[in-house]
């Protein structure tokens, strides 16, 4: 049985003048899959992700996300995905509760849903005592877990995570990944970038971008077997060392 595809990408390309940021990439992501999107700095990951999130119009190629075409329905895509990055996800000067209420409202939840979500999230994250604290006073690990929960507050088909665990302590990093496992078990597709190669092992499948192209795409165990490598770190080094272009050229 063919599993449902929630991201379909064919020859997707984005050029900036002479520079081809993302060069004819092709791949599918299945419902509930944890999909690792790896690449060196400057390989074209962010450019590709921005197109998939409906934030940037491709130069050519095709892509549909959550059933919506990226050219025709970018606004629909935004409503049906969640997004979280390491850099910005929450309002630091709002409290925990206010952030939950704000994002729930933005994503169109009604009053009773917001009420329900707020109490269930505070409970799950053990943040009841912190509900009226400003987000900026929380430790980074708590912030990131809260940001992830808020990114999926509207039960999106897909959640995009851009380096969600940078700088987080090793225990919280694992708690974070368990939240990802859980979301995936509930049918949410997880599209994640990371610089931690051990986290690449947690993904169902991993793609590695080099110089704007997808150089490899498979399960971590197949990638290791194929490249005769012990770890994903080794696979990454073998592939990414081929890069010709510097991150800033």
């Amino acid at each position: 049985m063919e599993t449902e595809k929630v991201i379909i990408v064919k020859d997707l390309t984005k050029s900036f003048g002479d520079f081809i940021g993302t060069n004819a990439i092709t791949f599918d992501v299945h419902k509930g899959e944890i999909f690792g999107f790896l690449g060196a700095n400057g390989a074209g990951k962010t450019t590709a992700m921005r197109m998939l999130c409906g934030l940037s119009r491709p130069s050519s190629g095709e892509a549909s996300v959550a059933g919506y075409d990226v050219y025709k329905y970018p606004e629909e895509i935004k409503r049906n995905i969640g997004y979280m990055s390491q850099k910005f996800s929450l309002y630091e000067d709002l409290t925990v509760k206010e952030n939950i209420r704000f994002y729930s409202g933005i994503y169109g939840l009604n009053k009773s849903q917001i009420h329900e979500k707020t109490s269930s999230l505070l409970d799950q994250l053990h943040l009841l005592n912190e509900k009226d604290s400003l987000v900026k006073s929380l430790p980074l690990g708590w912030k990131q877990k809260l940001a992830f929960s808020i990114a999926i507050v509207h039960n999106p088909a897909i959640v995009f995570l851009d380096e969600p665990t940078g700088g987080v302590d090793p225990i919280t990093r694992r708690e974070f990944w368990e939240m990802i496992y859980q979301a995936s078990a509930n049918g949410t597709t997880v599209f994640v970038t990371t610089h931690y190669m051990d986290e690449a092992e947690y993904c169902n499948r991993v793609s590695i971008m080099v110089d704007g192209k997808i150089e490899a795409l498979d399960t971590p165990s197949n990638l290791k077997r194929y490249h005769n490598a012990k770890t994903m770190d080794d696979v990454f080094l073998i592939l990414a060392r081929k890069a010709q272009r510097q991150a800033d050229q």
């Binding site: 006073s137 380096e163 090793p170 225990i171 496992y181 610089h195 990414a240």
Partner: protein, 303 residues
């Protein structure tokens, strides 16, 4: 010879009327020519420690010396002798690569030519972009420029605050190779990082968490202090496996670790049976620094 001495250093910040203890009576020494890493997550106190040692902020308590000079009373001497690369890119964005380097050289009454041999290895990689404004460089290039600027006055000690954060695996490797070559020139290097896997590249490491040193030693010694037997288990479906592990009383601890889950158990027979039932691969593995850090954070094992 001891180059950096930290004795009972504490640092507090007040935040929303509550006091946060960033550093809690920290003590350690760094020897001359050593490559020493302070490893810990965000908020552990790494930056506070580096700012105290570079004479940029004052500790509430304790004494610290760098190259034999006190960080409070003799800070001017210290500033002549150290190179400092802060975690946040702090060069002049509107000056070009070459202008930045010239600027820092002239501040220290020297010239690029005089110390070129020290930075050649690093600067050669960015020299093709010497007329580009620093603000227009990529992360990796900014990092190389910042390191060149920190080295241009031939410091005896280098303080690098999270130079590899957010940097991809390849650039991280290259950066550590550069550090090794600098160490060979006799420069003492203190570096901080949140990446546990970088520990093995250092002479000694201090594991820092919530302002306290959890352990300080060579990476080998830290790992050899992990007393418990560590198991690794793997099956087709990893998340259900983790949940199943957790539901068993003979599992003391289990957490994802790369392609395996790492497991501590009080009953090896039960664990072996469990693995058989789940058709899972089970083996004993050597603990990594990250396993040690987790154990120390939880005080789960005697370490």
């Amino acid at each position: 010879m001891i180059t950096v001495r930290v004795n009972n250093i504490s640092k507090k910040y007040s935040q929303n009327k509550t006091e946060v203890l960033a550093l809690d009576k920290i003590s350690f020494d760094v020897n001359q020519g050593e490559l020493f890493a302070v490893i810990g997550p965000d908020g552990a106190g790494k930056t506070s420690l580096f700012r105290i040692l570079t004479s940029l902020i004052l500790a509430e308590e304790g004494i610290a010396t760098v190259d034999g000079f006190d960080v409070i009373t003799q800070y001017k001497e210290i500033r002549k002798r150290i190179g400092y690369m802060p975690g946040k890119f702090s060069l002049y964005q509107d000056l070009t690569v070459e202008e930045n380097l010239n600027f820092f050289a002239s501040i220290f009454h020297t010239s690029i030519e005089e110390n070129y041999d020290l930075i050649k290895d690093i600067y050669d990689q960015i020299a093709p972009f010497k007329d580009r404004r620093a603000g227009k460089l990529s992360g990796g290039m900014k990092q190389k420029l910042a390191l060149s600027c920190a080295l241009i006055h031939r410091p005896s000690i280098l303080f690098l605050d999270e130079p590899t954060t957010g940097v991809d695996a390849i650039s991280r490797k290259e950066f550590w190779e550069m550090l090794k070559r600098l160490k060979q020139q006799g420069i003492t290097i203190l570096v901080s990082t949140p990446y546990m896997d970088e520990a093995s590249l250092c002479d000694r490491v201090a594991l820092l968490q919530k302002g306290k040193i959890l352990s300080i030693d060579t990476p080998e010694n830290i790992m050899s202090q992990f007393k418990n037997k560590l198991w690794a288990i793997k099956s087709e479906e990893m998340y259900p496996l983790l949940l199943a592990l957790r539901s068993n009383a003979f599992i003391e601890q289990s957490y994802p670790f790369g392609e395996y889950h790492h497991v501590l158990t009080n009953n090896e027979k039960e664990l072996a049976l469990f693995a058989q039932n789940y058709n899972a691969e089970l083996k004993i593995v050597d603990p990594t620094i990250e396993d040690c850090f987790i154990a120390l954070m939880q005080n789960h094992v005697n370490l």
